[in-house]
Amino acid sequence: MEIFGIWLAAFLTLCIYSFLYRDNPFYRFAEYLFIGISVGYYIVIYIHQGFIPFAWEPFWAAVKPFWPGIPREAGWIGLIKLIPIALGLLFFGGLSPRHTWLIRYPSAVLVGFGSGISIPLMLRTFIFEQTRGTVEPFAAINAGTLSPWGILEAILMLIGVACTLTYFFFSVEHRGPVKWLSKVGIAFLMIGFGAAFGNTVMGRVALLIQRIDFLLNDWIGMIMDWLGSIF
């Protein structure tokens, strides 16, 4: 079974890489197979991990006491579980153009709930903490505990933050000093994008290396071992 798996993985890897030469039926086959398997896998996962425990089981628990022949234990209070299930079902209103408006209700609940939880936390995480991080080194400079390199870092960071924010400040026309500050901001942005691009290249090359490592060592290595055992 393991040998079959290695051959299959090697075949599909070569099918995908064949696109580098040009589009061809082997690439299409591997692409469609990948999409099909992914969709099937995710549907099964979401049914077992999402639909059954969070919709079907609560629904059944709520209506079970009212099922003919089953003794009543829970009562009416259990029906409260049907409210979120019904709200979720309203999403299917999108399937009919006449009933699309029904989506507004579950969307409103989701947005309201999400905003209530996220906005205070996001303000702290992404605004207050980051602002503290930008100005805090200056307290260390004042206390004389920061190294010369640390001082340079702190100053550069403050300049970078101020100039980059200036670039995105559109309430004032970018002329004179504002124009120059925003130009410095663009330079900082470009350095950031460059670093992100370099790291992305590193990540993509790692994927290639892993696949070639698999082809050379696992697949061809297995073939060589097999040939070695024959001759």
């Binding site: 030469y21 939880i117 670093a195 290639l208």
Partner: protein, 271 residues
């Protein structure tokens, strides 16, 4: 000549990149690896934990993130098991459970760690942020069973674990934006210490959190994995692949320089 260089067939570049990978793979070249500060910070943090401390590892990646994140996951797990630090594995990615469970079992077997006593894998739960927030109140309220279906109450490692208060660190191996969510919902809300191991694409996004201390350490892509393997003195795929990676980077830098030179010369000629 210049026109030829500017209109070089992309397939020649693909062949050059393939050769830059295949040749070093066969030559087994070993280039020096220096450890960056964020990687060292995470290593030191785990190294300074007391034995029998518990950390949580979130494996938030699927097969596409495996080449970069599996080597660092392997290295961190090995360090934890060697130091008798207990590990609780979870995932918020639907395509991660099999990968994560196999990895944990593999490293546990190598290190002699016992399932249920030294480590447990709780599996996947949908909900993202809600799972993160829920575990802050009660882990058993979110994960009733582990990946194998054993009730949490019957697992020895979970005996004294109720919520994040008993977790010394959360390490998020992520190929998406989950680290930012962990910081937002677990660090800011519950003061849980967070570290991260991420793919190359999102490394740059993580540095602001390191500077503020919202992340206690960072393993950055395959280079970070190689650094961590060096720190625990267990060379594996990370160190092997980063050597090959260096050759490809040299080729890419060379091609970028060549392309720019040709571009500027042609511009000057046109002027």
């Amino acid at each position: 000549m210049l026109d030829k260089l500017m209109n070089i067939d992309r397939r020649i570049v693909f062949i050059l990149v393939a050769l830059a990978v295949i040749i070093p793979t066969k030559l087994s070249v070993n280039l020096p690896i220096s450890v960056s500060e964020p990687t060292q910070q995470l290593y030191d943090y785990i190294d300074n934990l007391e034995a029998d401390s518990t950390i949580m590892i979130a494996f938030n990646y699927g097969p596409a993130g495996l080449p970069e994140l599996h080597p660092m996951g392997r290295a961190v797990l090995k360090q934890c098991f060697d130091k008798d630090v207990r590990v609780i594995g979870v995932t918020l990615a639907p395509d991660a459970p099999t990968l994560a469970n196999t990895l944990m079992e593999e490293i546990a077997q190598e290190s002699g760690a016992m399932a249920g006593e030294d480590y447990v894998f709780l599996g996947y739960r949908p909900g993202g942020a809600l799972v993160m927030l829920g575990m802050g109140t009660s882990i058993a309220g979110v994960f009733e069973n582990d990946y194998n279906g054993t009730a949490l109450a019957e697992i020895p490692i979970m005996e004294n674990i109720t919520n994040y208060d008993q977790i010394s660190l959360l390490v998020d191996f992520a190929s998406g934006s989950t680290t930012e969510q962990w910081i937002n919902y677990a660090n800011t809300q519950y003061n849980l210490q967070i570290a991260s191991g991420v793919t190359g694409v999102i490394i740059a996004q993580m540095y602001p959190f390191l500077q503020t201390g919202q992340l206690v350490g960072l393993i950055a892509g395959i280079s970070g994995a190689a650094e961590y393997e060096r720190l625990i003195d267990a060379p594996a795929k990370g160190m092997k692949w980063i050597n090959i990676e260096s050759f490809v980077h040299l080729l890419i830098v060379g091609l970028v320089i060549l392309g720019n030179i040709a571009f500027f010369i042609r511009n000057r000629q046109e002027e």
